[in-house]
């Protein structure tokens, strides 16, 4: 009996703690948004963050995209040719990437590479009192350190997702047309006829933008909220990656059910 009591009280305390933290994160988000003016008035700040989250993630995004495309091509061909529909390979590769794999996988990779790096930077600055020092020098760290990182992530994410998708389609084409020998004309023609810009490509871009906001917010917040010790920072980084992954997949479900409901 005592055990069951403890079980529930622990869950209850945990839940309350998590809900409180969610509220705290929401306040942080609003505070950061209101201090975002400086980010756009000083392009140098934003540029540095675009470099850190966007450019430095290019390699992993492009290479992963290529590999995902290659695998899609292989697996797709294997299944389609059994029903004599190997000409639909273009459609398969394109729609899978544009609607789902592009935004989701790119966001997961972004969270692991750029998100964790953002958390580490902010967390370490907190642990070494650099954030406090900046605050004491009458410069708001929200405006100078966190908002630029957030916006850098938000702006980089859709571009990275699109690049991932493009690399993937290239990979699918490479395997399908070049190596296996699917008809090139059919590959592109069927793809073009069945991929709608407004319904598929545009929705995919919106998804990646939403993921960008979620991941960047989580990354910066976890760094801001980290316990200011070495161990605290490493735990914050882990939390960023895990929470981002869950958020991405949950948001993906929500967005997909809105966007692709009628089709």
């Amino acid at each position: 009996m005592r055990l069951i009591e403890r079980f529930f009280s622990v869950i209850g305390a945990n839940t309350i703690d998590r809900v409180w933290r969610l509220g705290f994160a929401a306040r942080f988000f609003l505070a950061m948004l209101s201090h975002s003016g400086e980010t756009f008035r000083r392009p140098r700040l934003l540029l540095r963050e675009l470099y850190a989250s966007g450019v430095l993630s290019l390699i992993i995004i492009l290479v992963s995209g290529l590999f995902v495309g290659l695998v899609l091509g292989l697996q797709g061909y294997d299944t389609l040719q059994r029903y004599g529909s190997s000409e639909a390979l273009g459609i398969l590769v394109a729609l899978s990437l544009v609607r789902e794999l592009g935004p989701v996988v790119a966001a997961l990779l972004f969270a692991s590479r750029a998100g964790s790096s953002m958390t580490a930077e902010v967390g370490l600055m907190k642990a070494t009192e650099q954030l406090a020092a900046m605050d004491m020098m009458a410069v708001n760290p929200l405006a100078r350190i966190m908002a630029p990182r957030f916006w850098g992530g938000v702006l980089s994410m859709p571009l990275l997702a699109t690049l991932f998708t493009a690399a993937g389609i290239f990979g699918g084409w490479l395997i399908g047309v070049i190596f296996i020998g699917v008809d090139e004309g059919a590959f592109w023609a069927q793809m073009q006829a069945n991929v709608s810009f407004r319904d598929d490509v545009f929705n995919g871009i919106i998804k990646s933008a939403v993921f960008g906001v979620a991941v960047s917010l989580i990354a910066v917040f976890e760094g801001f909220d980290a316990v200011p010790t070495a161990e605290g920072v490493s735990r914050a980084i882990t939390r960023t990656v895990v929470t981002s992954a869950l958020a991405i997949l949950a948001l993906d479900f929500v967005l997909t059910s809105f966007m692709f409901r009628g089709l």
Partner: protein, 159 residues
Amino acid sequence: MNRRVMDLWVGVFVVIGFAAVLFLALKVSNFSASSFATTYEITAKFDNIGGLKARGPVKSAGVVVGRVAEIRFDPQTYEANVVLKIDSQYQFPNDTFASILTSGLLGEQYIGLDAGGDERMIPAGGTIAKTQSAIVLEKLISQFLFNKASEGKKDAGAQ
């Protein structure tokens, strides 16, 4: 990190990012000028729309000339009112035939327009008078079975 190099790389990043978007728009999807071209609406009434969905294509002579905008049920006439958005550059005569056809054997359904010979064109907001509903598979099969059964009876009766 040298500032110039960083600026250069960010520039490259943004450029290839937009290039990828362009690639997706032009090479991968059917983003053509007519997606955002001007259109006008006309209505067609059907007894049964079958599997026709909103945003399905409207074709004439096999070429896409518009999209299905809306499908409504008329509680007065118990018919389906289908609103079509036709590309403004195409006009159709008053006696055009609108039928619901299937793409391939089991593919998606679309509206096919057969132009008539009338000199007057359907105005924006006008209605297509002649329509043919979709062929519902179950009805076709039951019709077939019924015919087969009555044939058999006739033979049996004749004997």
